[in-house]
């Protein structure tokens, strides 16, 4: 015995005392959002079978599907969505894979700069890039189109951006940073000895690249491609900015159009039926994604290597690499931003000319509806902080239950937490819209408040939160918690004093990333926003849709300016323990 014994431990009764099992408490907290997400999916499927006849109570049947089946507009939308998704994957992978190879496998100078630009590029709102490109390539008034058309004999070369393929290219440019992050992680985890073996045995650079590196990285690239297509088929920003005003519909804007129609009653049944098809498609893609990811881990190096693999020397071709990357940065980020800035200073949209220099002013900024702007900024601010914090809390509960407890059903819980990754957010938003308006409206009047956005954002991003925390917790040796348990420390204290401090870097990273996601989110908000719960992205979008495009440009410039300190914050605190392949 060390020192005086305290209490009479041996005779203390240990049964018959009522106590709450902290494991069950955590598990139930974790199950709550998973059940809610599953509930939203069920509601959407249920909606698709509703048959509503005015003046009668609802029946159930296949009417929505029959109507969908016989509607050429639906076929057109599907075709549009297909081309759009295909083009965005192709463009994203083209730029993403090359950039990832340059950063991870060559001695490209200033590659840190490229890495920074690409990772923060993930956070640039798609609708801002899209607005920029409308200014550049609008069929009638786009700056580039006008410039091309002014050259005699070149009229044929003008580009119509308001087509599925045009939008697909823009969406692809916006998704390239994501492809970059995922593929870079694949390149990083490949065993460099495999490439070195090829080199030692006399294979040249190109031959090694084509016969060793790319085949090894292929599963990882394929996984990135599948993942990006799940985003592509449901992307909202670009189709909403470019497609909607020009009556070119995609799946996501179709849903928006059915649930928030300009006139007539909302058609939840049609939205539900189309969504149900897309749910099946998305689950299929996610299943493929998981299979491919599992396959791709076969070649991965699990342990960190002490030595640096010898990078491919670019030598005098380095400038070529930077020309390529510069081309991407110009198209994807610099040009759209500059043209937005330019137009935010003009009273109305016009080409660049000496005469327009005389009329530039800050009047768009002055004339912004500032009361709305401030209110939307306040709402967005509240959402950023509360969504990130709540999602993190739920994610800790879920991830602990999945990785550490021995409770039955924890694998189902994990799959459930992955669900918002698989099911397009716009579908969840349709479900939430209906639930808030018609199912719980009386008891829980959350429609038109920021609470519904809060709840939906938390559900949508718990998949991201749990992916980051799962891998963070798995990196903490189990015995660190077990020793606490054996020495008599209760579970919740163990979490607070041991686990949470150890995974704090990952938690800070996830918190900041989710705050930034909340800042840029337009898709879900578009289906749930009323004048009373305006968010900043919706504020910009509504300016755009009402035709005040130069004022929308001004608001976007303000939004981008606000993002700089946020990204800097993320850069300083968050990036250390990033789970890069689970971004978004």
């Amino acid at each position: 015995m060390i020192g005086p014994a305290v209490g009479n431990d041996t005779t203390r009764p240990f049964t018959g005392r009522l106590k709450i099992d902290a494991r069950l408490l955590l598990a139930s907290v974790g199950w709550l959002p998973v059940v809610l997400v599953a509930g939203l999916v069920v509601v959407v499927v249920w909606l698709s079978f509703q048959v509503i006849t005015p003046g009668q109570s609802a029946n159930f049947g296949w009417r929505a599907y029959r109507e969908l089946y016989g509607d050429p507009f639906v076929y057109q939308t599907l075709l549009n969505t297909g081309w759009f998704a295909l083009l965005s994957v192709a463009v994203a992978l083209f730029f993403g894979v090359v950039a990832a190879w340059l950063v991870e496998r060559t001695d490209l100078p200033y590659k840190n700069v490229l890495f920074t630009l690409m990772t923060t590029g993930v956070l640039v709102q798609g609708f801002i890039t899209a607005m920029g490109w409308v200014f550049l390539l609008h069929p009638r008034i786009g700056l580039m189109n006008k410039a091309i058309a002014s050259i005699h004999g070149m009229e044929w070369a003008t580009v119509d951006i308001a087509t599925p393929m045009g939008m697909g290219v823009i969406q692809g440019l916006a998704l390239a940073p994501l492809a970059f992050m995922m593929v870079a992680a694949t390149f990083r985890s490949l065993d460099p000895a495999l490439e070195e073996a090829a080199a030692v045995h006399g294979m040249g650079l190109i031959s090694t690249l084509l016969r060793v590196t790319l085949p090894l990285a292929f599963p990882g690239i394929l996984a990135a491609g599948i993942y990006i297509s799940t985003i592509g088929i449901a992307a909202f920003d670009v189709p909403a900015i470019i497609g909607l005003p020009n009556r070119v519909f995609m799946f996501s804007t179709f849903l928006y159009f059915r649930v928030q129609p300009e006139f007539g009653a909302p058609r939840y049944d049609l939205a539900g039926a189309f969504s149900t098809l897309m749910i099946f498609l998305s689950l299929l893609l996610s299943w493929l994604y998981i299979q491919v990811v599992r396959y791709s881990h076969r070649y991965a190096v699990v342990t960190g290597r002490a030595y640096q693999p010898k990078p491919v020397e670019l030598g005098r071709t380095a400038w070529l690499a930077w020309v390529f990357l510069g081309f991407y940065l110009l198209l994807g980020q610099i040009l759209p931003t500059l043209v937005l800035l330019w137009n935010s200073l003009l009273p109305y949209f016009q080409p660049i000319s000496w005469s327009s220099l005389d009329i530039i002013s800050f009047s768009n900024y002055h004339n912004l509806p500032w009361s709305h702007l401030l209110e939307s900024a306040r709402n967005t601010g509240i959402l950023m902080v509360s969504v990130a914090s709540l999602t993190l809390a739920f994610s800790v509960a879920i991830s602990w239950t999945v990785t550490r407890s021995d409770l039955a059903g924890r694998f189902v819980l994990d799959a459930g937490a992955f669900l918002p990754h698989a099911i397009p957010h716009v579908i969840l938003a349709v479900g939430a819209n209906y639930v808030a308006l018609f199912l719980v409206g009386k008891a829980l009047p959350i429609y038109g408040t920021i609470y519904i956005l809060l709840a939906l954002y938390v559900l949508a991003w718990m998949s991201f939160g749990t992916r980051v925390l799962n891998s963070a917790i798995l990196q903490v040796h189990k015995e660190l918690e077990e020793v606490g348990k054996v020495s008599g420390i209760p579970l919740l204290t163990c979490l607070r004093k041991i686990l949470v401090p150890l995974i704090a870097p990952a938690m800070v990273n996830a918190w900041l990333w989710m705050a930034l996601l909340s800042y840029r989110e337009l898709t879900m908000a578009s289906l749930l926003v009323t004048p009373h719960n305006l968010t900043f992205p919706v504020f910009i979008w509504s300016l755009w849709m009402e035709g005040s495009i130069t004022r929308a440009a001004a608001a976007s410039v303000l939004g981008l300016a606000c993002m700089i300190p946020l990204v800097a914050l993320y850069w300083v605190f968050g990036r250390r323990a990033s789970g890069s392949d689970t971004a978004i």
């Binding site: 041996t10 240990f14 660190l480 054996v486 420390i489 150890l502």
Partner: protein, 365 residues
């Protein structure tokens, strides 16, 4: 200090590729103040047994008592969770919390555990525990700045500081280098005896087990193969597997020719207790029991062989002795005998006899 008893303990792990029977009915006792070592190869179930005792795994059936308190039973169903059992434990990885100082590591269970102490008490208790493991003065050192040996001591201090019912140790020395391992081993034993602690200690290293244990419990394939004092297990193993695990054995198989004499690969061997003429026997001889001689001495059980391999190992040599029927390994301390023809004697009293039909019988203490 409290004793510990386990009765009929079973545990099956169900994995995707099937079920693994980790424990197949273990019965054992640890007396108050006794230092018991669970010895076994990896996968034998020894760590699972320790984790069941600690409350980190839930057994499928059986009973575990800590003193006279039942901490696990399948009938009536009882499971006292790990934090309520009151053990101190040292893990293989040490499990030193890397975000804390030495003091905080030892103090955390005292401040937040089931038996909360007052702050002033904690200070004294931690200081005392650190003095016991000779770490006084390192209180404020951040944990990641400690050497492996120091982390090991912090882990020990933390386990001692809670005034545990009993100490559980899961291969605590396996991450230390060989030299340090020996000195820490000695300190652990000394400390446990000084504090009169009940200790259940897991290792796969038979030298470590013999050096530390009052009693060794040899585990194999989820069963208790034999328990006893180290020399009992080494000299009187009840099972060839036990004998093999505790050190190299030369195996001879033979048939009893007449009372006291067995026909083996070496030739006719006089064996104590070979009674039943015609029955088969398995005989084991430890390398250190074989006596090498340059010239024949005419004693009983003497044979001629040829040294075909001679490995110098510092304090002894290992010689391979080739005879017409069998190649034996002998341990030679003292003068080198080089290579070539040699005579060797197998002392009758050192031969371990197994009846092949009765192997795997449970121990009788």
């Amino acid at each position: 200090m409290t004793g510990l008893s386990v009765r009929g303990l079973t545990k099956v792990f169900r994995t995707k590729s099937g079920s693994v029977h980790a424990l197949r009915g273990i019965d054992m006792r640890v007396e108050p103040g006794e230092f018991c070592v669970l010895l076994g190869s990896s996968g034998s179930g020894k760590t699972t047994l320790l984790r069941c005792v600690a409350g980190l795994e839930k057994p499928d059936s059986g009973e575990i008592r800590l003193g006279d308190r039942i901490v696990f039973s399948d009938n009536p169903k009882t499971f006292v969770s790990a934090e309520d059992r009151g053990f101190g434990m040292v893990f293989q990885s040490y499990a030193i919390w890397p975000h804390m100082t030495v003091f905080e590591n030892v103090a955390l269970p005292l401040l937040h555990g089931k038996r909360k102490l007052l702050r002033q008490e904690v200070r004294g208790r931690v200081a005392h525990a650190l003095r016991l493991v000779q770490l006084e003065g390192l209180q404020d050192r951040p944990a990641p700045q400690l050497s492996g040996g120091q982390q090991q001591r912090v882990a020990l201090a933390r386990a001692l500081a809670v005034n545990a019912q009993a100490l559980l140790m899961d291969e605590p020395l396996s991450n230390l280098d060989a030299r340090l391992r020996e000195s820490v081993r000695y300190e652990i034993r000394e400390l446990a005896k000084k504090l009169n602690s009940t200790v259940l200690y897991v290792t796969h290293d038979q030298v470590e087990a013999m050096a530390l244990a009052d009693r060794i419990l040899l585990i194999g394939e989820g069963r208790l193969l034999q328990s006893g004092r180290p020399h009992e297990l080494y000299e009187k193993p009840i099972d060839p597997a036990v004998a093999e695990f505790l050190g190299t054995m030369n195996w001879l198989s033979g048939k009893i020719r007449e009372r006291g004499f067995v026909q083996t690969e070496l030739g006719l061997l006089r064996v104590h207790g070979a009674e039943k003429v015609g029955s088969e026997l398995l005989l084991g001889i430890r390398p250190e029991d074989i006596r090498l001689k340059p010239v024949p001495s005419g004693e009983i059980n003497e044979f001629r062989g040829e040294i075909v391999d001679n490995t110098y190992l510092g304090d002894h040599r290992l010689c391979k002795l080739k005879t017409p029927g069998k190649t034996m390994v002998a341990k030679l301390v003292g003068t080198d005998m080089g290579y070539g023809t040699v005579h060797f004697q197998v002392p009758e009293e050192r031969i371990v006899v197994f009846h092949p039909n009765h192997k795997g019988k449970e121990e009788s203490k």
